[in-house]
């Protein structure tokens, strides 16, 4: 019989000393996954970084080493900076909007009782709708010719002329963000609902006895409890939106011009519509470094929470 640390002591986390007791097979079990990741993740990343130093047309076997010339090109590439700005705007607006809506809904639906709880389930549905469907759907609704949004605006005389949702000025970015908020607000609704459920009932009860009104209760008691959930949720969604491809690609294709081209879309366009894999890899490599910074923050926060 093996004797472990006292059972009572290992409630916090499982002891990790198995291989010392002669069970290396446990470690070998991770091998298939690690091999797969080496092929489909590690290799492509290394290859991307290497390719970024080459002139590398996608369908041409001829490619030549050109040193850091791609990186010089990037520094003076206005589209790159525009794409970076678009990425930040798209991500910040989407996450902020989705979080506020999710928070409001979580606080409000918490008060629903009985059969009305079904409504909360219904409010979650957009999260399950495939992203490309969201893209198609909003492209249809925002269409200038026969799109329902403009039709309603015109019929109610809110605007005199049709709003160019997908074609003019800043509107395409706004439309994409609206669609994205629609699709992601349920995520925050779920996260905040779970966090609200984890508030000890005694705390709320005590505050109620002290005659804290609804608003004070929310601001002083509930919101502080939601801070962790908000942090993790925000980080996850920031990373996801940084990397979001299908919504923008189905709604606007990154256009008009480069108006809604985020970095991900730019990398894709460079590689698969301009067939310039070398420069695409350069943009990708720089993007990876920027993401790494965000990922480090993310892991730090997660660790601090679990510690």
């Amino acid at each position: 019989m093996t004797v472990d640390a006292p059972v009572a002591a290992d409630t916090a986390r499982p002891p990790r000393r198995n291989s010392r007791r002669g069970e290396p097979w446990l470690d070998w079990m991770t091998l298939p996954a690690l091999v797969i990741l080496a092929v489909v993740i590690a290799y492509p990343i290394i290859r991307t970084v290497l390719t970024s130093f080459y002139d590398y047309p996608l369908f041409n076997p001829e490619h030549s080493f050109i040193g850091v010339r791609n990186y010089h090109r990037l520094a003076s590439d206005t589209v790159f900076w525009q794409a970076l700005r678009n990425t930040v705007v798209y991500t910040a607006a989407s996450v902020l909007g989705a979080m506020l809506i999710g928070l409001t809904l979580a606080l409000v639906t918490e008060r629903l009782r009985g059969p009305w709880r079904v409504l909360r389930g219904a409010l979650l549905t957009p999260w399950a709708v495939p992203v490309i469907v969201v893209g198609f759907l909003f492209r249809f609704m925002f269409d200038e010719q026969g799109g329902v949004v403009d039709a309603v605006l015109l019929r109610t005389h809110t605007t005199g002329t049709a709003v160019p949702w997908l074609t003019g000025g800043y509107w395409p970015m706004i439309s994409v963000v609206i669609a994205n908020i629609w699709s992601q607000a349920p995520f925050f609704l779920m996260v905040f609902t779970a966090a609200l459920g984890a508030i000890p009932p005694e705390v709320v009860e005590a505050a109620r006895i002290d005659r804290a009104g609804g608003w004070t209760l929310i601001r002083r008691i509930k919101l502080p409890y939601l801070r962790d959930a908000a942090l993790v949720g925000t980080l996850l969604m920031v990373i996801q939106n940084f990397n979001n491809f299908p919504l923008i690609w189905t709604m606007t294709g990154g256009g008009p011009a480069y108006g809604t081209t985020t970095l991900v879309v730019y990398v894709y366009r460079l590689a698969f519509t301009s067939y310039d894999l070398g420069y695409s890899s350069t943009v990708g490599a720089v993007w990876l470094v920027l993401l790494l910074a965000v990922a480090v923050v993310f892991v730090r926060v997660l660790r601090r929470r679990s510690a």
Binding site: V108, P126, I209
Partner: protein, 291 residues
């Protein structure tokens, strides 16, 4: 222990009434915001082509018809093929991911080599990668291996997000499982693998199912890989297939597009409500890969 009077009883009157009105109005407003697009998708899919493309749209289908759905399976867009390809690749991916990540997750959770911490954090970090950075080299790799336009190629591509996600998620499930159960089974004379397959796996069925459903959903959602790794109709999945058909020939067939969108959504909506209870945990293990 004294039973406190429920405080809501104190606060009758105007203020409570005002709060209630606020709640109802907010809920109603957001219900419209959430449900309107879904309604519009369903309504449009049931309109005749003529009605669906009217410049002055009708609020409900006057010409109630299932023609759009019928056309999907009889028309020129090989919707049935797309549907099968999506279903097939998503199911196989889910299966592969569950097997590989059960092994990996268990190893991470119970194993003890020094690097476990670093490796598992690295696996977590790979979930934050933009798939678009991987796609160029993956494309060239599969090109060389003659795996472009094959199911196998697509499934290999999908492992780049399903395996890290699954491994991390399963590690979480195993971490939460008390080890005493395994110790007890060992004492009862089970071999090591016997413990894993006869005791641990049956106990982690909820985790396995959740992981499988998540991978299924992510795969179903993925546009980037089929768009690049499968260019022929016979191997195209729904997202890329629809994208291509509706940005070309069928640009203005809104009714057909909404019918296709509705069918594309159904499996995910069903899967979602099946695992809704585990949703939050799954999402904090790694958000949906947005690509």
């Amino acid at each position: 222990m004294t039973v406190e009077e429920r405080p809501t009883k104190h606060r009758g009157g105007r203020r409570a009434w005002f709060t209630r009105v606020c709640v109802v109005v907010t809920v109603a407003l957001f219900a419209v915001w959430t449900l309107w697009p879904l309604y519009w998708m369903a309504a449009t899919s049931l309109k005749s082509p003529l009605e669906a493309t009217r410049l002055d749209p009708t609020l409900w289908p006057h010409s109630f018809t299932f023609a759009n759905f019928r056309a999907l399976f009889t028309g020129t867009v090989p919707f049935g093929t797309y549907l099968f390809n999506s279903m097939f690749t998503a199911l196989v991916s889910a299966l592969v991911a569950v097997v590989v990540s059960t092994l990996c997750g268990y190893g991470f959770s119970r194993g003890g080599y020094r690097l476990t911490g670093v490796t598992s954090i690295a696996v977590l970090a790979t979930q934050m990668l933009p798939l678009v950075v991987l796609i160029g080299p993956l494309y060239l790799l599969l090109l060389k291996a003659h795996l472009l336009n094959t199911y196998l190629g697509l499934i290999i591509g999908y492992t780049s997000f399903s395996v890290p996600f699954g491994a991390w998620m399963m590690k979480g499930f195993f971490d939460a499982m008390p080890r005493e159960i395994e110790e007890a089974a060992r004492v009862d004379g089970n071999g090591r693998l016997g413990v894993l397959f006869r005791v641990v796996v049956p106990l982690s069925v909820p985790g396995l199912v959740t992981t499988a459903v998540f991978v299924f959903m992510n795969t179903w959602n993925n546009l980037l890989y089929p768009l690049t790794l499968a260019s022929t109709d016979s191997r195209q999945t729904l997202p890329a297939g629809l994208m291509q058909s509706f940005s070309g020939t069928f640009k203005t067939d809104w009714g057909g597009m909404m019918a296709a969108a509705l069918i594309t959504s159904l499996p995910l909506v069903i899967a979602f409500f099946a695992v809704q209870r585990f949703m939050v945990r799954g999402m904090t293990a790694g958000a949906f890969a947005g690509t």
